[in-house]
């Protein structure tokens, strides 16, 4: 049962991601991207990572995609863009993407990944577990990511401000 769910979900995820990159219409791309995020969240639920599933929907589908949508609307880009018809980049992209996939696949084939002794706790994805790990083991990156937001904040203010030149 669960394996069927997995395969259907995976297929849907890939299809929806593909639709993102082949839709001519930016709004459609955004909607498919939101769908992809939901599907990925479903995978998280399957993996017992409820907290991430929730965060994924809130942050990605909620905040980030709304931002995208807002910008697209703001810039009035909700019509098709005339893209130059050239098959060379398609060709190069598909071939290089395909070979990257083949490389990883062939490396995966030789690998024996899960060793049973590693699997001991299946509840790590729950929020109480994650929270304690985050604030105990991973406190340093947690605090340092504040710097990241400082920069983003200062940067957006800087880039958005009108430029004044007083000689």
């Amino acid at each position: 049962m669960i394996d069927k769910i997995f395969y259907v979900l995976s297929a849907l995820t890939i299809i929806s991601a593909t639709l993102v990159i082949i839709s001519r219409h930016p709004i459609r791309s955004i909607l498919f991207l939101v769908l992809t995020f939901f599907l990925v969240s479903a995978h998280y639920v399957l993996l017992n990572a409820q907290f991430l599933a929730l965060v994924n929907i809130v942050v990605y589908a909620g905040a980030i995609m709304v931002l995208f949508l807002f910008v697209v609307m703001f810039l009035n880009l909700n019509e098709e863009m005339v893209e130059v018809k050239s098959y060379l980049p398609w060709f190069a992209a598909v071939i290089s993407g395909g070979s990257l996939m083949l490389i990883v696949t062939s490396a995966l084939e030789k690998a024996v990944l899960t060793s049973p002794q590693l699997v001991s706790n299946y509840n790590i994805g729950l929020v109480e577990n994650l929270g304690s790990v985050l604030y105990r083991e991973y406190l340093l990156p947690m605090e340092l990511s504040a710097v990241l937001f400082f920069i983003a904040m200062a940067g957006v203010m800087l880039l958005g401000r009108k430029e004044r030149i007083s000689e």
Partner: protein, 453 residues
């Protein structure tokens, strides 16, 4: 940790001072912050262990590279003053962003965990995307920002893919005590991580963004990109391979040789026919990065000094040349090679400083650049790759051609009738100090040996 807190506080202060009327305080505060941070780093290192939770290390190479980062920032900060002209609000932003980006750099050079490395790269890169686009009404600057941003984000995604594969193949983000579960996947992950870092370092064939971005970005920030990012990137690479040298096999050695050669070759070839000096120097930066990479063959903690010495030589010359370009560009409105004609007659200090910087890039004896190349090539010869030494020597000599073509311009008398002009003594003094250091380190490399080993 304390030093990073100090830097953050200084950065936040700078941001807030930018909103108030007391804008002249920004730079002193920032520079004091850098000094305090350095003091905190070197005098309270013993306190670090409990704070860092094994995620960052201070032993060995990190302390050298952090020192370099802070010193470099200290030199760059006063030059931000030129942005006072444009309504000081931006000065606070720039200062704050640069201070924050140094924290990213510190994370990169002292990481012991890929999580920290990734965060550090992002902090530094996002800061650089913003700085590249700082001249918001100049289309070149806009273009530089978007190019850097799109490609940088793409490279970050690839780097993150490497992190993911690393995690799959080892079950951890730690870069020491590695238990390899899937060797093939592990090799791929190391290669992908390397490629991600090579992008940030502008090593061929991942260098395409560099000339465009360096040319388009405001010159002062080009100097930041050419120095801070390179120091942080090479520091991160050093830390990564210092721990992994034992795990990855021979191929990494050949890969480094290939990338070094490719960078030197492509950088040289492209630099030959450039007319924009910033662009020329960005290609020359690619060549220099190739040379530095030679110092990574068989990365060991004992090699730190060599890489650090090369970086010091490179940073001194880069800062000097980009600042000179800034002043010329500011005066004449373009960085075309023709604008440098007769520079000696217009402003002898700038001409001489730039000459020394270029001569050092080219590796003429008695400059730091010569020593740096000599150490690196000696290292390569010691590991039995005479062909590499031969080719790099030939390329180093070939590079002299375009450096000297530029130098030639400075001393050609110029009929355009541009009057001689002057810059303030503070900047002049800084530039002269950079040149004197270049010469001093060429004459007495041991002057900094105790600091970098």
């Amino acid at each position: 940790m304390l030093s990073m807190i100090v830097l953050t506080v200084a950065g936040v202060l700078a941001l807030f001072l930018g909103f108030t009327k007391t804008k002249s305080l920004i730079l002193p505060v920032a520079m004091l912050g850098v000094l305090a941070s350095a003091a905190a780093y070197y005098f309270y290192q013993s306190l670090w262990g409990e704070w860092l939770l094994g995620m960052m290390g201070t032993f060995g190479s990190p302390s050298v590279f952090v020192g370099l980062l802070l010193a470099c920032t200290f030199v760059i900060l006063p030059f931000l003053n030129v942005y006072k002209l444009r309504g000081g609000g931006e000065l606070g932003d720039f200062t704050g962003i640069i201070l924050f980006s140094v924290i990213g750099g510190m994370m990169m050079v002292s990481h012991q965990d890929l999580m920290i490395l990734f965060l550090g790269i992002e902090i530094l890169s996002i800061a650089m995307y913003i700085l590249a686009g700082a001249d918001r009404r100049v289309i070149q600057s806009n273009e530089a920002a978007i190019k850097y941003f799109i490609m940088g984000a793409f490279a970050s995604a690839i780097f993150l893919f490497g992190v993911g594969l690393y995690y799959v193949s080892t079950g951890s983000f730690k870069i020491f005590d590695v238990k390899i579960i899937a060797p093939e996947l592990y090799s791929i992950s190391i290669l992908v991580l390397f490629a991600g870092l090579a992008f940030k370092l502008a090593l061929a064939p991942f260098h395409f963004w560099a000339p465009d971005v360096y040319q388009g970005a405001p010159t002062i920030f080009t100097a930041v990109m050419a120095t801070l990012v390179k120091i942080a990137g090479f520091g991160a690479l050093f830390q990564l391979f210092r721990y992994h040298a034992g795990f990855v096999s021979e191929w990494i050695y050949w890969m480094m040789i290939l990338l070094a050669l490719l960078s030197m070759l492509i950088g040289n070839i492209m630099a030959f026919s450039q007319t924009s000096v910033k662009r020329l120097l960005s290609y020359s930066g690619i060549v220099q990065a190739g040379f530095i990479l030679i110092g990574f063959l068989h990365t060991r903690i004992e090699n730190t000094w060599m890489v650090a010495y090369y970086l010091v030589a490179y940073v001194l010359a880069s800062l000097a040349s980009f600042f000179v370009i800034y002043f010329v560009e500011n005066k004449k409105g373009s960085d075309d090679i023709g604008e440098f004609k007769g520079l000696y007659y217009q402003n002898p200090v700038l001409a001489v400083v730039f000459t020394i910087a270029l001569v050092s890039f080219g590796g003429v004896p008695l400059t730091a650049g010569f020593m740096a190349k000599l150490f690196v090539l000696n290292h390569a010869a010691g590991f039995g790759s005479p062909a590499l030494v031969l080719v790099s020597l030939v390329l180093a000599v070939a590079s002299m051609y375009y450096y000297f073509k530029l130098i030639n311009q400075f001393y050609t008398s110029d009929e355009s009738g541009v009057k001689s002009w002057d810059i303030s003594w503070g900047y002049k003094g800084m530039l002269i100090v950079l040149s004197v250091l270049t010469l001093f380190l060429g004459l007495y490399p041991y002057g900094i040996y105790p600091w970098i080993s």
